[in-house]
Assembly symmetry: C4
Homo-oligomer: 217 residues x 4
């Protein structure tokens, strides 16, 4: 069932440790099948090198396990809340990537200082209020606070990124951590102004029209 989606979600999950975004079993990626609405997600507490496309869990939008022997991620209810409230989102990634999480600890939005982050995010990455793990509370915070951005910092926790598919959400998660790292380095040496809003908007526009090959994200 959903073999192609399983494969892509597996690829996104194993890319998380390879890109330095997660350690041990933390973090997860999920994808929603546009036709059936079913969601493929990482099982809870499984090491990334023990993941296969077969042991991922398939759930429906209400959280019922449709296929899979393992219990789905403890973050499943939050993924599903976002999918139910955002028709445009078909992939999500959650990490505790360290530079981004340092902003989440401090409750500081990640502002836009570089052409790369202007292009990808188009505006400051917001911070949610503190939310408890395990139910929909994180999902509600995401839907309420993320606005038109594709990334959000979860207060005192980590990050969530959204995409039209799971590999897009993965790309956003990679660039979010790179952005947080470079901004952290720059701010440690003294205060500096973010880019003006019109420069950010222009960079976002160019990237979303001119960059990449026609059939790629």
């Amino acid at each position: 069932m959903l073999e192609k989606l399983r494969k892509t979600v597996w690829e996104a999950n194993v890319a998380l440790p390879k890109n330095g975004l997660v350690l041990w079993t933390s973090g997860n990626a999920s994808g929603r099948d546009p036709e059936t609405g079913l969601v493929v997600i990482k099982p809870s507490g499984v090491l990334f090198d023990q993941l296969t496309s077969e042991n991922l869990v398939v759930v429906d939008l209400q959280g019922n396990v449709v296929e899979g022997e393992l219990k789905p991620s403890v973050d499943t209810a939050s993924h599903l809340y976002v999918y139910r409230h955002r028709d445009d989102v078909h992939g999500m990634v959650h990490t505790h990537s360290p530079y981004a999480t340092s902003f989440a600890i401090r409750g500081e939005p990640l502002r836009i200082y570089t052409t790369t982050s202007a292009a990808v995010f188009g505006g400051d990455i917001p911070v949610s209020d503190f939310a408890t793990i395990g139910e929909e509370e994180i999902g509600r915070e995401i839907v309420e606070k993320i606005g038109r951005n594709s990334a959000i910092l979860l207060r005192s926790h980590g990050v969530f990124t959204l995409g039209k598919d799971v590999l897009t959400a993965l790309k956003v998660a990679v660039i979010l951590e790179e952005t947080a790292q470079v901004v952290h380095f720059a701010l440690l040496r003294g205060p500096v102004d973010p880019l003006p809003a019109e420069v950010v908007a222009a960079g976002y526009r160019v990237y979303h029209t001119n960059y990449g090959q026609k059939d790629r994200s």
Copy 2:
């Protein structure tokens, strides 16, 4: 003798450099067999890529070598002191992982700023007093100061983590370093309050009941 335990202890030892927790020959992991009480531990001063499950050393709780050609770790007496005083502990990991050790140098407990560290540790990670390497002194400090936590910072030295088995102690060591890293990043940009005690307690409770698959740590 103790083939299965040897294999797990070997896995935990070689996971230390792979997870960036140790360099060269420093650091070690040990496991205690619940039936015989015998302990499998890294030999002293051997590079991790020269370890095999066969060249690990088996000692009894008094430190007599029961099996093995090599001299056991210089930290053996401290591992054994902890095992003798903590019936619930069957695995231990010792590292000099750099972010955690920077707190140990400063004599600063590692406080809880994230949901992940709340879940895993349930409270501030304490710092021991300075203790000399080579005898039981480190073991005594651990038993006296660690309380209900599973990790402790050794003053001016490094970290020790305890678990119901060696892979649990390894997991705690990985998450301890990740926690120290993210807190270091956050504190460099200015002071910030740790999570309230009741939030830490609730996060710990949820993680120890809901997370992971039934038969996993």
Copy 3:
């Protein structure tokens, strides 16, 4: 067409992620063939592990695609502008390497504090004014501001390095990031004076006459 140059440009491109200089699809390397004047460059938005020497794009100095199925990098116009204005340059590398980019965010030239950076750069690495991605504007900034250096920081963006061939430009990009890292570490602990200009000049002279094998860069 240009098989040898394709291979070298491919090597330089895949060396970028291997040396920690780029993430995902960002950054690119190009090389100019001294005989035909044609330029081989990375296609836009392609992951580095999907690059082959065959899917690189060949363009002429006016930006017409001469060979290749994919769209060339969005930075192509800037590469070409530099090639047209600098006869001595036959290789270029563009990255967002994090330590160097933190100087670009702050608009701070990277000054010379080490014998290595004296040897390679021979003087402070300048910062361009802010330039928009996608047309020649970055290329014009490079030509105008780089002077006799082989590296330049692009304001709020990243870095460009130039060389007599693409592997020389790659070497400069690697050493630029290493230099930015070590200077960042040193400056975080307090102010410190750069090396005197005559020491920098002497180090540059020695390196460009005595270092390496005769037939190597």
Copy 4:
């Protein structure tokens, strides 16, 4: 000629990038044969993954090439100066490892804050005066300033470590960088006192009598 020494010196050289101590072609390791007095050293400007035990260069203590097609390292004269003045030294490593080099830039000795660095170094790691690359000047600074330590910071340049053989010098170089890293992290969060001299001396004594297997360094 000197096949066993060639192999060990090759191992030490390729361990430099693997341990994050060098980039590109910088840094080098050498070893002296106790019987003939001949020295095996890295050729100048060769990438580490192109090194073989066969393309290392053999020189005598006056710097004459005895075997080898390539030009020896630009640091050869300094290695040889040290070998001629220190009968106990048969291995040397030179790196620009970033954390240690940040202390060299600042002209700050690396003080002893941890049991590991007490054990290995036995005292503060000194900083040389500025010395020019290419002749014996660095070697003279090393011999004059290193005292009884096995490591020295070269002002505005990098580090040199000495050992009874090249693998011992390598070990010291690895632990030097780890030490510089952890001390850098600790100092960034505020001032802290180094360990008392008598604690450092005791740690050094224990390590040099009790640690490791009898026939190992």
